[in-house]
């Protein structure tokens, strides 16, 4: 029962935290561009407004896809540990690969629903999103694999515990950097917002979304980002109580926003070449260091 409450808390915290941080991110970007920018709670308004509208539905698979996307993202968000064993809802199932693949349910649901809308722009967007996934996941997974190999566990809360004596980021700094670059891709921040490029492909997968569909998918996106950043924080930035966890979360987020606000967008094959070049090579180098025991 406690686990259920913790899971619920995960959802609530994730929702409010990331939605506010998105607003903060907009504000930061605006400041970087010497604008005033919207208030930090702007995204709450956006989401609720979207939910309040009278939408269009492009068939049952469209609805089903959105529900699957949100359901999958929520399920993943419920598992993710937040910085310590205390804030781990399901210590027996928080395996990294489980989270990673459960996460894919949401992605697949979204992709299916959006292509189900019948719009080719959505298809192009999904095709780009999937290709991008091929790009960023590989270095990321190699880094995570070497972490798992190093700590001999794939359980996130155990990984967190094992970092008591030093953050993983400091044990394998190279890995941390690569994982952060991959994180940028995961979050879809510039320069990796290829799949939703509004000016090129009419915001890609979201082309046909209206009203509550847009709102629900926004919430799904919120949970997805919650999971992604949480994983990074857990795996690389060690444990601590909830407060510390939030601080680390915010720092990582702000860093990502700052980087993204000054960069233009990659083309899709540039993105692939980028990820499969230096980051992948360094990820392997990192794995080699771990194998040889050359960690800090």
């Amino acid at each position: 029962m406690v686990a259920a409450y913790k899971a619920l808390f995960n959802l609530v915290l994730g929702f409010f935290l990331v939605l506010s941080l998105e607003g903060v991110g907009r504000k930061i970007t605006a400041r970087v561009q010497r604008r005033i920018g919207p208030p930090w709670y702007q995204n709450f308004i956006d989401v609720f407004k979207a939910l309040s509208k009278h939408p269009f539905s492009n068939g049952w698979v469209f609805d089903f896809g959105v529900l699957m996307a949100l359901g999958g993202a929520m399920a993943t968000a419920m598992i993710v540990p937040m910085g310590s064993t205390t804030w781990t809802p399901f210590p027996n199932s928080d395996n990294f690969f489980v989270i990673m693949y459960l996460f894919a349910v949401g992605a697949l649901g979204m992709a299916m629903g959006m292509v189900g809308s019948g719009n080719p722009w959505a298809s192009i967007g999904v095709s780009r999103a999937l290709t991008q996934m091929l790009g960023y996941e590989l270095p990321y997974l190699i880094v995570i694999s070497s972490t798992i190999f190093y700590y001999k566990t794939a359980s996130i809360h155990k990984l967190v515990e094992l970092q008591k004596n030093g953050w993983n980021l400091l044990v394998m700094p190279l890995g941390g950097i690569i994982a952060f670059i991959s994180l940028m891709g995961m979050l879809g921040k510039k320069p990796f917002d290829i799949s939703t490029a509004p000016a090129e492909i009419a915001s890609g997968p979201m082309t046909e979304l209206s009203g509550k569909y847009l709102g629900l998918l926004h919430i799904m996106h919120v949970f997805a980002m919650f999971v992604e950043v949480s994983l990074f924080v857990d795996v690389f930035l060690g444990g601590g109580n909830l407060g510390w966890y939030l601080v680390k979360f915010i720092v990582v987020w702000v860093l990502a926003v700052l980087i993204s606000s000054v960069l233009p967008r990659f083309r899709i094959e540039q993105m692939l070449k980028f990820y499969w070049g230096v980051p992948l090579g360094l990820a392997f180098l990192n794995a080699l260091f771990v194998l040889l025991g050359w960690t800090l």
Binding site: H54, M78, N92, S93, Y101, A104, A111, S145
Partner: protein
Amino acid sequence: MAMSTLLVSLVATSVVMYFISKASWKIGAILNFLIGIFLISYVFALSTGTTSELGTLFGQKLQLIWTNASYYFSLVSLLVIVSVMLFAIKWLDSQKYPAAFNMFLLMMTAGSLGVFMAADLITLYIFWEIAVLSSMLIVPMGKKESRKAAVVYAVMSASGTYMYLYGAFLAFQRYGTLNISEIAKHMVSDPSTGIKATIFLLLASAGIAKSGIFPLHTWLRIAHGNAPDAFSAVLSGQLVKLGSYVLMVSVAALPSLKIFSNIPFYSGIPATNYFLIALGATSIIIGTLMAIKQDDMKMLIAFSSVANGGYILIGIGTMDPIGFEGGVLHVFNHALAAAVIFMAFASVVYRTHTKKISELGGLIHKMPITFLAYLFAIISLAGIPPMSGFISKWMIYQALVRKGMFITAFIAFFGSIGSFLYVFRPLAGVFLGQLPKKYKDVKEVSPIMWLPMVILVTISLIIGIWPFPILKPIEGMRMDFGIAPTMKIADSSHWLIKGFAGNWNPVLVFNLFLIGFVIAYILYTLFPRPKKVDLLAPHKKEGAPINIYTGGEFIYNPDLYQYNTKFYAGFERMYEKHPSWEKLLEMLAKFFYDLGEWVHGWFFRPSPSAYTFWVTLTILIVFWVRW
């Protein structure tokens, strides 16, 4: 009924089946299905350790034995075959040779079961060839290209099979027995690594050819792509698994870790196994990359079978307890998923008569059940929970990471994420998007055709949530082969699957997903009801434009607003000019043709005087050599 009686009578029945089907193929197909059901019940009733004797062949007893492995593989095979048999009851009306199809399908079933039951290498070979022969005769029943496909299939398969045969006789010559478990014992104590490795690789090559592993993978594309549509389900879902079985026999039943303990290569894995793993990894890369760029949906899944064969081989090849279980479980997952996918495609082709993704689209409006079956099958194929496909992939990753095999792990990850790409392509191009005008009168297939798909998908889902029934025989196999017999991976009392690095609870994960879905549904119902957009408007009324975002343009022909050619153009462009293994093998085939031409030109076509010359020359050479 003894196993030998069963197999012999199955082969005999298959001939009778031809004449029954000749009278009425429908009755034949129904009988086939009933026989399949009987076989499943038979498989459930057999207890492990049962033996039976088929007869003697040149002084060697042909023995059958029922083990955990036989149980598991037979069950998987029969699930696929019986589903296709049910599917065929209706589907066969689109075929030209229903009677022969029924006959060979039954014969192939007998052959496959025999392979799984065989206790010695020759029995295995006999049933193997029966399965190959009968399936090879079904393949050319398809469209025009399938003729060539049959030949390629036969030759590729034979090249593996004859290497196997050579290996089997080599083993027999050295150890004086053909019985697999006895050979295993002898091999452990045999000091000569070279011969052992030769035998090992020769035996494994049959599996390599059959399960479409790298150097011999090219037949999958052409054979799976062009075989009769429903039979592709058997080819990919079941026949390829014969190869996995042989690989498992050569890697695990002959305990490679003990046999080759003197040539460790990396992380305790012998060089021989590592060689196989490297082949498996190459197959994953090739299968994935090629699948991504296919326009023919059946060939796409054929390449995916190449990649998944690689997963199975990698899993088994590690001989790590969890990796081994993962590899073996992947047999089940891929069998079911591929069977459903091919059956879904068969349904699509049955209705639309094309298998080109670029000519299809929007069939979800017309064939929703087929779509759903396909959807759940690809979720399983891509290894996404809560379908069973995830469990095996998870296990394989566990093993790879534990062994520190980062490059192999990298390739496995690549294959896994690549599989998202390629399974999505038919989903988007065939089922979603705009329905082309010419398919506006297409209907859903009859229940006889969608029922088997739904059943298989349901099984896959149930196993994904509660995998312990299927993990039990796999653990039994692992015990039989003596791979870490004390370790327990499936812990059904705590609902856990235990890896070396953390556990997970499939029931919990499924429930979480369910809860997430319910919350999402509640949110969905809270807010204003949507207005339906009719995507079929242009089909229903002449002159109505499609009502989705078009940038303000009026589009009346939905065919124009469908994105399904070169779906991953950005990525495909990066490896457009890849070297083709298929071409290399074609060159090899052409070499033999040219050699034949050359031989013919020099020795067989010339005039009698040239013959005289050759005779004289031969006499001279022989004399020269012998004196």
